[in-house]
Assembly symmetry: C3
Homo-oligomer: 391 residues x 3
């Protein structure tokens, strides 16, 4: 029974400093408040994890496999293998591709991660991913609590989803790849009542791309249902396009993302209201001996669906870092980032971006902004330096 | 240290549909309500799990061994290795047999499981096991909460028990086998107060049987204490007899079970009240090439100890399924079941049987019945189809 | 990836009996109340655990390593791998020594454990360790709850600490060894407010010693911050000295410990109040064939910082046991202990010592003392007998 099992993981720990600045706006008397914090952090370069996986060759090109992967809060030891929230799947694969059942990344998240020079970890995390996870978490909480019972700090149906069936194209299609995923809402159908069953928790999405030795480009789309009633509901619809090209001396990355928060009114006359988050990101990896210099620049614009003047906001992020490889499995790293928020009072929950938000387990207590008393999120900075060991 | 350790497990996932029908009875106006649900399920064929076990040969026929086995909610990844609720034991064994300390199955549960063609998993689960676990859970909750701190969806002292000492006869007794188990209640003795310590949580039971290559038959008995006071208390007493015979072309299974819920009044004149649950089950496994057809038919009668006319109830269950083995470790399966409840209003909590109730972790949110407003549990149906991969 | 990984653990289970006696004091009418309990226990000889660890040779004398170790409540299976509360670290080591990041034992705890003939497990646990963990837990709970989020039954910053950076001297210094550790408080600095950030949760300590084949001696010191304000605060300051000498036929152990609970008043005129706990312990291990006889005698005096007459208390403990090794990995053991408390009403929370308190996970429900109604903690006894299996 044992032969096909692999126990694997990453333990990544470092010292991180986070600082957020809130400033008065409009007619409020000039004021500025800075909150900061220094912590022993985890996952600054790669997400700390512990997992169990295996594959069985069934003959005839068929294979069965499983993958159980838990997040690890190794700075405090607080969470153990409390959940397999990173991945929990069983698959049947063959010439037809792969059918995968369980909890996994959503297809619409992949571009936010794959084309981020910082691999969506640490203070350098792709700004687009941070805004999108803020949106997913805040809307889930505002509409009845975390989806899927609270994993992933309420970012489910953005970052990952549970109760899902996925299908992946097989390799060997001339560089083309693709996947689709459907997650059951699992709500009870109460016998013919209008609007039953609720679709809350349902996710459907897909991703298609093409890659060769140098280039990689992919398009992703997904829909997450937050509420559904007889007459209306709320969905987050994500569309993104990402790519990378490896010139040898430098690898460049780029992403464009449009996420819409669409709310249909309950009454026949109620208008559809669509908030929009448009993001762009560009970055590089520059190999330097046994190390890599990493940099990215990103911007997300918030377009308020209410159409009022001056109701929008935007945020910019610059991240710079260096990774020094002691071996294939062990590396030292340092990253520093700077964030600027414009008109943050228009959407402080989503656009008030701290150095790092995308965290599972959500055990890194970062200082928030103050958005009452005439203050708005204004800027943030942070750094990580640490060690990553994989096994 | 490593040599004797085995990491093992099962990941089983599928799509399941559950439906329950409640209907009006007596003088209530005719009405019928159906609730249904479609989910990504786990454990439809075998219980999903992840475990660690090992044995050390101590010489002289002696051996020490341990076994830690966790349930895994692989459809959602929600529970990780949150507990070793399936088994958590250390043993010393030798020519004298085996002494086992910790958490394990109760001896009185074994017959409900071993002689079930569906292995007490999925919608085909032995009806007797479902009724018994409903009874154990509902009486535990009604008398102060789950025993042993909440594991096993309150079915402790029925399905498994913690804090136990078990003894097993050694092999080589001409086919005879047997075990006894005692679980400490662990309550505090408050120095001479009458009725102290409470016996709540105590379990004592045993099982004895005989088997050869074709036949297997066993008798089990157990007592679970729910409350105990100076003058009375409540116990669930389980007696069951099961057997199987393998004819080669077909393997037949059968079980008879009598479970009594015995409540002694607190006052000297208060009568003893005994509810009784009598069950019979018969089933077959029919090998068909690399697959097996499975079927079972079962009935449980509820005999209300209050002696009033028309206070009883009964439930019937028919289950049919097929398992297709892709290898020894990997299988595809499909099961369908049909349940009918008679006079369900007399005991909706225990006799209102849904397709599957016996669940650890209790993460499969099945639709319940409606037993208010003149309605009673009437019938249920369900199906599973999925994949089981063992490692 | 797999080659360097070791899965390891201990499963230790036994039957334990605990009994505590409370007695009236002063002018209260003579009365005595005994509470007792018999349980299936874990960790009577060694702490039950399950862990994952590994080391990578980076060349040039450098190595990276990780260690994740979870407590296991194997008597009930209740906690699984819910946390890596025993240890959760990643290290970089070389000729310079070792830098270790994460959760680990505190340096000031080591002497309480290393020089205890009973290895701080079971009813024989070093009295000094029990008093110190009682103090740490009760002061943490009294000043805002467990440090580090609740691990270790609130004994954090005494027994272990999270979010820490540790440094260890390299081996090969002629028998000298040493370590220092600093744990981040991780509190938010709220921009210039006086007393911000709070230092609550901060730990700093160190340990230095010398050992050869027969002798071992070490000095430890640590400070745990419980509260900090603009003008005052509370710290627990631990100083201890321990040693052992192996004469071959007998190994002797000894420890001296002084722990101060220092509270600075918030007002300028408020006095500094220092409670003091002075402990001494002496013990032996006597090898007898494949077994070891163990014994220890200890005393802790409580010196109340308020300076009132008769406000102090003391506690004595005698423990005796035998361990029979079936193999290097498997042992049977038995321990019995007797505790006497003097003037326990002056500090029942800390000085009311039960047979075993130092428990992680805190799942052994031991009977407490009664310290109301004119009663005070008076004495306790307990025994363990069980089996320990390591893998």
């Amino acid at each position: 029974a044992q032969s096909s099992l692999t126990v694997f993981g990453v333990i990544d720990a470092g010292v991180s400093h986070y600082s957020t600045k809130s400033r008065s706006w409009g007619l409020a008397p000039p004021q500025q408040i800075t909150h900061s914090q220094t912590v022993l952090s985890n996952s600054g370069y790669n997400s700390s994890r512990l997992g169990f996986r295996g594959t069985e060759d069934l003959g005839g090109g068929l294979a069965a496999s499983f993958w159980l992967e838990a997040p690890v809060a190794n700075d405090s030891g607080a969470t153990g293998i409390a959940n397999f929230g990173r991945r929990s799947t069983v698959s049947l694969s063959g010439p037809f591709g792969e059918v995968r059942l369980g909890r996994d990344y959503t297809p619409s998240f992949w571009n936010d991660g794959v084309f981020d020079p910082f691999g969506v970890n640490g203070v350098g995390t792709n700004l687009i991913a941070v805004v999108n996870s803020n949106l997913a978490a805040s809307r889930a909480l505002a509409t009845g609590g975390p989806l899927n019972g609270g994993l992933s700090a309420a970012t489910d149906s953005y970052l990952r989803t549970s109760n899902a069936i996925g299908y992946f194209l097989p390799p060997g299609l001339g560089g083309f790849y693709g996947q689709v995923q459907y997650a059951f809402h699992e709500n009870v159908d109460t016998g013919g009542l209008p609007g039953s069953p609720s679709q809350r928790g349902r996710y459907a999405g897909g991703r298609a791309g093409w890659s060769n030795a140098q280039a990689d480009v992919a398009l992703g789309y997904g829909e997450s249902t937050l509420t559904s009633t007889f007459t209306g509901g709320e969905k987050i619809k994500s569309l993104n396009l990402g790519g990378s090209y490896d010139f040898g001396m430098v690898k460049v990355f780029g992403e464009w993302s449009r996420v819409r928060d669409v709310r249909d009114g309950a009454a026949a006359l109620a208008p559809r209201l669509t908030d929009r988050y448009d993001g762009v990101m560009a970055g590089v990896n520059v190999p330097v001996g046994p190390g890599v210099i990493r940099a990215s620049l990103a911007r997300v614009n918030f377009d308020n669906g209410n159409g009022l003047p001056d109701s929008d906001a935007s945020v910019n992020k610059l991240a710079l870092g260096y990774v020094h490889h002691l071996s294939k499995r062990t590396a030292l790293y340092a990253t520093v980032t700077r964030i600027r928020v414009h008109n943050g009072h228009n959407n402080p929950t989503v656009m008030g971006v701290t150095p790092l938000v995308l965290s599972l387990p959500a055990v890194l207590p970062q200082p928030g902004y103050i958005s009452t008393g005439g203050l708005e999120p204004r800027s943030a900075m942070g750094y990580d330096f640490g060690i990553r060991h994989a096994f």
